[in-house]
């Protein structure tokens, strides 16, 4: 008998937890709008091959620079490639697949990989700086400050020019640029958490510094980190757009939103704005969607505490 009561209790609490999390999402209209936009892009990126009869490289010489039509719902670019197809394959690179080389690609898009790598490095540096303190903290933080002093775009340019333009290098650039911000955030959270008594308890138990940093402190920073990561994915998409626009993103002919805008830009004034319009809208909507989602969750989780 007591067994069943026990399991019931646990089941109830786990269910309640999920319900609570979903409740936060549902009760915030802003978060819901953001979620719908983000889910739309994830969906089209996942099922891109099923959502279009073309491939992103297929050129239709007879129909370059066309507006939306029944055959090409969003129109075509200057080489007659289907814009819808390029758009959703572009989303794939951003959100779903990371092409490492011609034969290998990893699940998870370029933007996501960039942020994850930045998170791992940034969180480690922040934890070490915050928990250990002293000269180590000074050293790490001053170095990161120096990095932050360089304008972001310039930093991207320097990195990509130095290591060359490819999907993997874009990931590297995004992570390097993201590290200082994440490290600062994690450091400030660590400074607060390390004064808690459970950290004292771990210290009196003789736990190693690594155990305390990664097992005791890190899990408690997850709330702010998740929200920050969402915003950061937005920035990363933006950065990829910028790099692509400057010709430093994915090498052509891969469907890259930034380079699509750059190519289409030339034809805006000649009466065909679509090639530049759609990818711009795509970037904007995805970034705004992620921002709304992050803001909504943050606001809603802070209210009624």
């Amino acid at each position: 008998m007591p067994e069943t009561v026990e399991t019931k209790n646990i089941a109830k609490t786990k269910k309640a937890q999920l319900k609570d999390m979903f409740g936060i999402l549902l009760s915030s209209k802003i978060a819901m709008v953001g979620l719908v936009i983000v889910l739309f892009w994830v969906f089209v990126a996942l099922f891109a091959p099923l959502l279009t009869p073309y491939t992103p490289y297929e050129q239709d010489w007879k129909a370059p620079n066309q507006g939306p039509s029944a055959e090409h719902i969003l129109g075509t670019d200057e080489l007659g490639r289907d814009l819808w197809t390029r758009l959703i394959y572009g989303a794939r690179v951003v959100l779903v697949v990371l092409p490492v080389s011609e034969n290998i690609s990893l699940p998870g898009g370029t933007a996501i990989w960039g942020v994850v790598v930045a998170l791992i490095i940034g969180a480690t540096l922040g934890l070490i700086g915050g928990y250990k303190g002293g000269w180590l903290d000074e050293l790490v933080m001053r170095l990161l400050d120096a990095m932050m002093a360089i304008p972001v775009i310039l930093l991207y340019l320097i990195i990509v020019v130095a290591i060359g333009a490819s999907a993997v290098n874009v990931v590297i650039a995004i992570s390097i640029v993201g590290v200082p911000g994440i490290a600062r955030l994690v450091r400030s959270l660590t400074l607060d958490i390390k004064t808690r008594e459970y950290i004292r308890a771990a210290e009196t138990r003789g736990e190693s510094a690594w155990f305390i940093m990664f097992v005791e402190i890190l899990p408690n920073t997850r709330g702010p980190i998740i929200i920050d990561a969402m915003l950061r994915i937005g920035y990363a998409i933006f950065a990829m757009g910028t790099l692509g626009f400057l010709g430093l993103g994915m090498p052509p002919p891969s469907p890259d939103w930034g380079s699509m805008v750059a190519k289409g830009r030339a034809f805006i004034l000649t009466g065909n704005p679509y090639a530049a319009l759609w990818p711009s809208l795509a970037i904007a909507s995805l970034v705004v969607g992620l921002n709304l989602l992050a803001d909504g969750i943050r606001e809603e989780s802070m209210r009624y505490q």
Binding site: T13, R196, E197, Y198, A201, T204, P219, Y304
Partner: protein, 737 residues
């Protein structure tokens, strides 16, 4: 500037003084109900509150946390925030109905005549303005009193709240005066424009006992001088007994009992009030009692209170066990009907179906158990017959002070140190509990940090069973670490919110390999049972637990490595009385069952007395008195211990004691007074020849008295006893078992 305004808007100007008519009560609250809007529903926070405040009267409001005490105060002030509102009843201020009056008008009425004093003076005062600026602003902002006149009036007011050196304090900033003085400034500010009603929300909770005693005396004086009506909100029954005329007991948002303070303490009618009164360990209790009464269960959350039943029914012993009732049918309605306030006598009401029935049983001696054997000490000074577990010899723990001047950076200035612990020698005997008492900043926590290895010792030696401990915890041998474990103060931060209870108790078991890996869960469950928690807590997260439960888990975690010494750093000071009682009982049981040795740190002398075998009183990093409990609590006392003891508020309104008010502040530990470290504040110095010159010049030595009692004072012990007896503190002589 504007930041400081909003909190003071309440106390502004005298331009529109209300008519003071003596027969109209200052405040009349009838059937007040307040609810908060949450994401899911409208949650009732307070209901059925009735009370009246007359001029010159203090109405105490007591109850545990979460019972709606502060909500009442905010309701009166219309400070409920965006999601709270008054949903029923009436609040009449000077005969004028406040509920339903438009906000702007309300602000005008209340702003001129109601003042509030909050718990934390640091938050009520603006750190970037001088105290003078903040005080005069209250007068000059809305009246045509000139700057000079206002300044004079403020000094006069500061003098009335017994602020030493008032004229100079006006030019200081908030951080330059002590916590007790800050609270005086806040009270002075609240009184500046002669309010008809003063609401004090836990005004002494953040203060040390000696300071608290002084502030309470002040409140008592002011009531007489200003003829103000006061609402005094607190959780401390001792404090409320000292200052109140009438008492309202709140439970789960309802007023459960109300009456004149003497009647309520002499014959409490509601089972909750009785429970509360029994929970508190008292200085006058017989030492052989080692069970405190504790109320079962916990205060229900506002969202799951049953509004159609007695709100206390799930925790009420009278209903559940009915042990004292002759006619058990009286409790039939408890779970099906909501009780109304029933008159016990003409001005004493209780919200209980039993009514006067409960009065048939004397409340103060029920359910307190007997203590088994106290450690017996017989005439042996060094206790050499007993095993010493922990031996601290001449321990010093100094922190280097940061000096930002150029000279210091160049290494020219003399290095200064904060001497948090200075030359302490102590022995903890196997199987006993050592209580360490002292006010905040006396170095008791630092002492513990030194023992446990969180801070490196500056000098001296700590030995555990003969093994030197002078290494930081992370470098100590695992077998040594497991012998020393700690229970922490704050239930909200003692557990890691990311892990289940089971994982957190299991971690030390795994780390120290107390039991084989596959038996860890069994061991955790055994520990959970030992701290009276059910096995299903294994999979819970800390946020699903109440404060008392978290503290129990903290204790279980400390016991998991089967340590020989458990150090408890104020484990109950953040808990409500009924919960604290249960935790104290638990600690006492563990002590008896497992024979653990403990160091128990507290600022509350009555708690220390209840749990300890030996007591050390600390002041400014030194031990000033040490001895077995039976010798510490009766005279002779060290003058500091005497002041501490006399300041403890006793939950008995008839015990009118004169507490010894210590003058001045605790000196800075960087710049310790010469000679006896207590001489700057010592009230007993004058009995020595030459007005105690020796105290300034010469460091006193411990006077060794029978039973291993030691006092660090120049005044001979016999004289100290005489002085204590003169003061008439006979209560201490009684009941010391």
């Amino acid at each position: 500037m504007s930041g400081s305004f909003c909190c003071r808007a309440l106390t502004m100007n005298e331009s529109d003084p209300m008519e003071h008519t003596s027969d109209i009560p200052v405040l009349e609250v009838k059937d007040l109900a307040i609810s908060y809007q949450t994401r899911k529903q409208l949650v009732p926070a307070v209901r059925g509150v009735n009370f009246t405040v007359r001029q010159g009267q203090t109405v105490g409001v007591v109850g545990e946390s979460g019972c709606g005490k502060s909500t009442i105060a905010f309701g009166i002030l219309d400070f409920l925030g965006s999601n709270g509102k008054v949903v029923g009843g009436s609040i009449k201020f000077m005969g004028k109905e406040m509920v339903g009056t438009p906000k702007a008008e309300l602000r005008k009425i209340r702003g001129n005549n109601i003042s509030m004093v909050y718990q934390d003076p640091m938050q009520a005062l603006n750190p970037s303005l001088t105290i003078g600026t903040q005080l005069t602003e209250v007068l000059t902002a809305h009246t045509d009193i000139g700057e000079k006149e206002a300044w004079k009036r403020c000094i006069a007011m500061l003098e009335r709240v017994h602020m030493p050196d008032a004229a100079n304090v006006m030019n200081r900033y908030v951080h330059m005066i002590s916590g007790g003085q800050q609270q005086r400034v806040v009270i002075a500010m609240a009184l500046l424009n002669n309010p008809s009603l003063l609401i004090m929300d836990e005004p002494t909770t953040a203060l040390d006992v000696t300071v608290e005693a002084a502030v309470l005396d002040l409140v008592e004086d002011l009531k007489k001088d200003f003829n103000t009506g006061i609402i005094f909100i607190t959780h401390n029954l001792g404090v409320v007994a000292k200052v109140s005329d009438r008492l309202c007991v709140m439970y789960a948002g309802e007023m459960v009992e109300q009456g004149p303070i003497e009647k309520l303490f002499a014959s409490p009618a509601h089972p909750y009030t009785r429970g509360l009164l029994c929970c508190v360990p008292r200085l006058g209790d017989n030492l052989s009692n080692n069970r405190l009464w504790s109320i079962r269960g916990r205060v229900p959350d506002p969202a799951d209170r049953d509004l159609n039943a007695c709100i206390f029914a799930p925790r009420c012993d009278w209903r559940i066990e009915g042990r004292h009732l002759e006619d058990k049918s009286l409790t039939a309605n408890c779970t099906s009907q909501h009780p109304e306030l029933i008159a016990i006598s003409d001005d004493h009401w209780s919200r209980c179906f039993l009514g006067r029935e409960t009065l048939k049983v004397a409340y103060d001696d029920y359910a307190r158990g007997q203590r088994d054997a106290v450690v017996q000490i017989e005439g042996d000074d060094d206790f050499s017959s007993m095993d010493t577990l922990l031996n601290i010899r001449n321990m010093k723990l100094w922190y280097p002070e940061q000096n930002p001047s150029l000279r210091a950076i160049l290494g020219l200035a003399k290095k200064t140190h904060v001497k948090a612990v200075d030359d302490i020698s102590l022995k903890v005997l196997k199987g006993t509990t050592l209580g360490i008492v002292g006010e905040s900043g006396c170095g008791k926590s630092t002492l513990v940090k030194g023992i446990i290895g969180l801070e490196e010792l500056t000098d001296g030696k700590v030995e555990l069973m003969g093994i030197d401990l002078n290494l930081p915890a992370q470098k100590r041998d695992l077998s040594l670490i497991r012998e020393l474990q700690m229970v922490f103060q704050n239930p909200d931060s003692t557990l890691n919110p990311s892990y289940t209870i089971g994982a957190q108790i299991g971690r030390p078991i795994q780390k120290f390999k107390t039991v084989p890996r596959q038996k860890v869960r069994k061991e955790v469950e055994r520990l959970l049972r030992a701290v009276k928690l059910d096995a299903y807590y294994y999979d819970r997260y800390p946020r699903q637990l109440s404060g008392g439960e978290k503290q129990r888990v903290g204790i279980a975690r400390a016991l998991a490595s089967r340590p020989s010494l458990v150090i408890c750093d104020e484990p109950v000071s953040a808990l409500d009385v009924s919960v604290a009682a249960a935790v104290l009982n638990l600690l006492n049981e563990i002590k008896e069952d497992m024979g653990s040795t403990m160091i128990f740190i507290a600022h509350d002398l009555s708690v220390v007395r209840f749990i300890s075998d030996f007591v050390a009183v600390m002041y400014l990093g030194e031990i000033v008195e040490f001895g077995p409990v039976s010798a510490i609590y009766p005279p002779p006392y060290h003058p500091y211990s005497e002041a501490l003891l006399s300041s403890v508020p006793i939950p008995d309104p008839t015990a009118k004691r004169q507490s010894i008010i210590l003058s001045g502040d605790v000196p800075s530990p960087t710049n310790r007074p010469s000679g006896c470290c207590f001489h700057t504040r010592c009230p007993r110095r004058s009995v020595l020849p030459d007005d105690g010159k020796i105290c300034e010049q010469e460091k006193p030595r411990f006077q060794r008295l029978p039973n291993g009692h030691k006092i660090l004072c120049h005044i001979p012990a016999d004289k100290l006893t005489e002085l204590a007896m003169e003061r008439g503190d006979k209560r201490m002589m009684l009941n010391t078992g």
